[in-house]
């Protein structure tokens, strides 16, 4: 049982670095989500949490479970990573479109508004 749990020091350092990268990005995203002045800026900062803040920790867990021999958990974590990569742009696009349709505009004047020009055409 001790041999199953025992992992080498290099793998442990790699897992720690991946966890630290993930937690750094999650912390930056949370601070941005609390401190940004605008609704669109907050959306952009929450994407920071959802991409690398999740993927760092999930890949660290995948490496740990693959090294210790828990193959089922590793496969599930890989499915979770792929699902996260696929679904995050869809959710971000949907919520951004909803914010535009709801009438929320940025604090300063927009530099470029292609979607609004398309709306006024028809």
């Amino acid at each position: 049982m001790m041999d199953a749990v025992n992992i080498s020091m290099a793998v442990r350092i790699i897992i720690d670095i991946l966890l630290l990268i993930g937690f750094y990005f999650a912390l930056a995203g949370v601070v941005g989500l609390l401190r940004m002045p605008d609704s669109y800026c907050r959306m952009q900062s929450s994407t920071n949490v959802a991409t690398l803040g999740m993927l760092g920790a999930l890949i660290a867990a995948l490496v740990y479970s693959a090294v210790t021999g828990a193959t089922g958990m590793a496969i599930k974590l890989g499915c979770l990573c792929v699902f996260n990569i696929i679904t995050n742009p869809i959710a971000s696009h949907a919520i951004c479109k909803a914010a535009y349709k709801l009438g929320i505009r940025p604090k300063d004047k927009m530099v470029c508004d292609d979607y609004g020009e398309d709306q006024t055409d028809d």
């Binding site: 025992n6 442990r12 959802a50 958990m73 679904t87 909803a98």
Partner: protein, 91 residues
């Protein structure tokens, strides 16, 4: 002492830290000016809770928490898309 040191304690530590981050995001969930901000914050809470549950599942070696975490990820995505469709007025 070597036998005690074999477990990966930092997985549990980072799971707790991700949980604390999810609690901090609840501030934005409470005082968001518009409903879009609240939807974004709830999506963020879903992501952080998913990571925390996955880390705890790997630490404790129980696969049931990983199933809960995958279900939470799917439900968070569906909830965000449904809320944005509703705010758009197309539902």
């Amino acid at each position: 002492m070597d036998k005690e040191d074999l477990g990966m304690t930092e997985l549990m530590i980072f799971a707790i830290l991700y949980g604390i981050l999810a609690l901090i995001v609840c501030v934005r969930l409470y005082k968001g000016p518009s409903s879009v901000d609240r939807a974004v914050a709830s999506d963020c809470v879903d992501s952080l809770t998913t990571v925390s549950l996955a880390l705890f599942a790997v630490f404790s070696g129980r696969s049931i928490y990983l199933d809960i975490s995958m279900t939470l990820a799917v439900l968070g995505f569906l909830g965000t898309v449904m809320i944005s469709r509703y705010l758009e007025g197309k539902l």
